[in-house]
């Protein structure tokens, strides 16, 4: 529930003058600390989600093998692993890291505010999120194990325990997701209101840095799309536990109804996580190309257009599930249409790079890596959006590879771009560039080696949800490709150790970072690294837009937003 905090309640808690460990790290209302809480929880969940991927990829490449650190993967465990890998990576990694952590950290700092508008709501948001993560983790240990009916939790697999074999796991899964949504609802309210009402004097709407706009639009999309899914989740919980039959056709319900409620949220959700990553890339490429963002307003309108369109495409997930072919045509058109604004955004980014003086720092490499890989994700989406073609490709590894070519750039590359760029601000120290580049190449090359083979397998007709392909004579011959993808995954995972070594070493031992190591314009670079409580001694005023790089007639090639003319 949105609790509004009275304007005239006396500031209590006078007894806690000393910052204890608890009030500083655990029950903090400071937006930067909450961002860190979200980020580290997200990273922790990401390790679990990655470990799950390791376990089931090992099973696919070497069926029946005793997987090191896991053991033999049973069929039902396999289902639980893929289900929770998907759910964790989207709801407990991409969302908390890209929206919650970046939004909390960047919005106040980039608009020149001392904190969020509702700090206590913000703290509550993280606490509920943490509970949701604990509920999900607990679901792996209940009788029957974690939910094993795929991350989209379609009924009847999710509603009927006899089918999923996870009587308790499925309910806990739905509860965890519902709690997680409640947490992000509170976060979203905070982001939108803060960006609208707490901007530094002089910061007009078109002076807001792109990443802030993107996070705000993403929050709006989230708020608009999540309602129907919460309604569906309530109905599903009723079906699971109270004996209703909303999704049970035998008693008058409709299982396809769930798919509509889920994907009405599910497709905008793609843009909810994509937009912050796009914003991060915009910030990075302007700084490291020393150029103004090409067509700021056009990008903004494009994003608004994408947001509106994203509500009209959801039924492309039901082309095979049973939908009137005439409706399928409509959704084919809207789906292909939505690639237009995003293609345009890509062109705008390339135009921003054009003629710039580019320095290939680690964050810049990640930003360019994002553009390159996301393009492949976008282009392969066109195949799936066409309803005729989708009938062949539906539920194959082609879908899976397409999906990972969109979500990997968003969640993983986007995160690495953001963390390498804002690390000096967050922790007051510089990261190691050489290790950063090793990590970049060690991630991006194996990533393509994992998923390009999966496109091939998908085109060969390999279905997504099969435990052991060696039982299928026409698919068994492709086993070497599966082994190749799994080995690439192992290589990619081992290179992540380079990142964690660099991350923690730099956090404690890296060279001290100055206020503005990248010579960037936006406001967060005008305060100390890391920023003190309250962010600035004196809150800044804004005089110009965020992308005034290489302005003619000026000695320095950047022009901070707060510098008087």
């Amino acid at each position: 529930m949105a609790q509004t905090i009275p304007a005239d309640v006396p500031v209590h808690d006078e007894a806690h003058h000393e910052e204890s460990f608890w009030s500083h790290y655990v029950f903090s209302t400071d937006h930067k600390m909450i961002a860190m809480q979200y980020m580290f929880t997200g990273i922790f969940m990401g390790l679990i989600g990655g470990f799950f991927a390791y376990a089931f990829r090992m099973q696919l490449a070497f069926p029946g093998v005793e997987v090191p650190l896991f053991g033999v993967v049973s069929p039902n465990e396999y289902n639980a692993l893929i289900t929770n890998h998907g759910a964790i990576m989207i709801f407990w990694v991409a969302m908390p890291v890209l929206i919650a952590a970046l939004g909390n950290y960047l919005i106040p700092l980039m608009i020149g505010a001392d904190d969020m508008v509702f700090p206590r709501l913000n703290r509550l948001s993280y606490q509920i999120f943490l509970v949701s993560a604990i509920v999900l983790l607990a679901s792996f240990f209940v009788p029957g194990g974690g939910f094993a009916g795929a991350w989209t939790f379609y009924p009847p697999l999710s509603s009927t325990a006899e089918y999923s074999l996870t009587p308790l796991g499925s309910s806990l899964f739905v509860v965890a997701i519902a709690l997680e949504f409640a947490a992000f609802l509170m976060g979203g309210i905070n982001f939108i209101v803060t960006a609208m009402n707490s901007r530094a004097p002089g910061m007009k709407l078109y002076d807001i840095p792109m990443v802030v706009w993107m996070i705000v639009v993403a929050s709006v999309l989230f708020m608009l799309s999540v309602g129907p899914l919460i309604a569906g989740a309530v109905m599903l919980l009723f079906d699971q536990n109270l004996g209703t039959a909303f999704f049970n056709p035998e008693r008058g319900g409709d299982p396809i109804l769930w798919q509509h409620l889920f994907w009405f949220f599910g497709h905008p959700e793609v843009y909810v996580v994509l937009l912050p990553a796009l914003g991060v890339v915009a910030e990075i490429i302007t700084v490291f190309a020393r150029k103004k963002l090409f067509a700021y307003r056009t990008v903004l309108y494009t994003v608004f257009g994408t947001g509106v369109l994203s509500f009209t495409v959801w039924a492309h997930h039901q082309f095979v599930a049973g939908i009137d072919p005439r409706m399928a045509h409509v959704f084919t058109v809207t789906t292909l249409l939505i690639s237009v604004p995003l293609a345009e955004a890509m062109f705008v980014y390339i135009a921003t790079l054009y003629g710039g003086s580019i320095s290939l720092t680690t964050p810049m490499l990640w930003a360019l890596g994002f553009i390159a890989t996301f393009l492949i994700g976008g282009v392969t989406g066109i195949f799936l959006g066409a309803s005729g073609e989708d009938i062949y490709l539906h539920d194959t590894y082609f879908v899976l590879a397409h999906f990972h070519y969109t979500f990997f750039p968003i969640a993983i590359i986007g995160f690495y771009a953001a963390i390498t760029f804002w690390f000096p601000k967050m922790f007051g120290r510089m990261m190691d560039e050489r290790l950063g580049k090793i990590h970049f190449w060690g991630t991006i090359i194996p990533f393509n080696f994992i998923f390009i083979p999966l496109f091939v397998l998908g085109l060969a007709g390999q279905h997504r949800r099969i435990y052991d392909f060696t039982n299928y004579p026409d698919l068994a011959a492709y086993q070497p490709i599966r082994v190749f993808a799994t080995i690439s995954l192992l290589v990619m995972f081992s290179f992540q150790l380079v990142f964690f070594y660099n991350f923690f070493k730099s956090m404690f031992r890296g060279p001290k970072a100055p206020k503005n190591p990248w010579q960037a314009n936006t406001l967060e670079w005008t305060t100390e690294s890391p920023p003190p409580h309250g962010n600035w001694k004196e809150l800044p005023t804004v005089h110009r837009g965020p992308y005034e790089y290489s302005v003619e007639g000026r000695e320095s090639d950047y022009w901070p937003q707060n510098e008087p003319a």
Binding site: D114, L224, F246, G252
Partner: protein, 196 residues
């Protein structure tokens, strides 16, 4: 560390950017948008199931009390009117605000109470959560609305208590108002979809 009350921040923010809508009201408005979509999801789910069922309402199920509920709805609308009047005198006459706010709470409370009585009667007649999809949707949608009404009434009661102590800010009443108008405004739509 002193936990900084949002109060201080709101004041600080007020001085910095001209706010078209005060933060607490804007926050509630954003929340209400989500709520609208939530009920839109419920209503469309209901409409899909209803249109897919050949005989609606199911012949063996009791009929819903259309007239009695229409009368009860008038109480809810009256409560919204009382709240509008309370807002009108907010700047001028605090005593009037008090009585009108109290009237809004009581009228809203009566609405919820009569809804409860209606439920008991329907349960006796054999319409339960699991008796049919009609029963499931009826208790789901109307029940969730009642839940929202109770929360909104709590916000109004809180505003009333603050008013009596003499420190109710306009924006606080504003956010409670937004939520109550939502609860009242969504009801006619639910009534038309579910009852008629």
């Amino acid at each position: 560390m002193t936990i900084r009350g949002a109060g201080r921040l709101e004041v600080a923010a007020e001085a910095r950017t001209p706010q078209i809508v005060p933060s607490s009201v804007l926050g509630m408005l954003v929340f209400v948008v989500t709520e609208v979509m939530f009920f839109a999801g419920l209503i469309s789910a209901f409409a899909i199931i209803k249109s897919g069922t050949p005989l609606w309402p199911p012949p063996d199920q009791p009929r819903l009390p259309i007239e009695a509920t229409a009368l009860n709805s008038l109480l809810l609308l009256a409560s919204a009117v009382a709240l509008i009047l309370a807002r009108r005198s907010f700047q001028t006459d605090r005593d009037k605000v008090r009585t009108r706010l109290l009237a809004a709470v009581l009228l809203g409370g009566l609405f919820v109470f009569f809804q409860g009585i209606e439920w008991v009667a329907l349960l006796r007649e054999g319409l339960t959560l699991t008796s049919s999809t009609m029963g499931s949707f009826f208790y789901l949608i109307v029940g969730l609305h009642a839940l929202h009404a109770v929360v909104a009434l709590y916000l109004l009661v809180r505003a009333y208590r603050r008013l009596r102590r003499g420190w109710l800010a306009s924006s606080q009443l504003g956010s409670a108002e937004v939520f109550w108008y939502f609860v009242v405004g969504v009801w006619p739509i639910l009534y038309v979809t579910v009852y008629l």
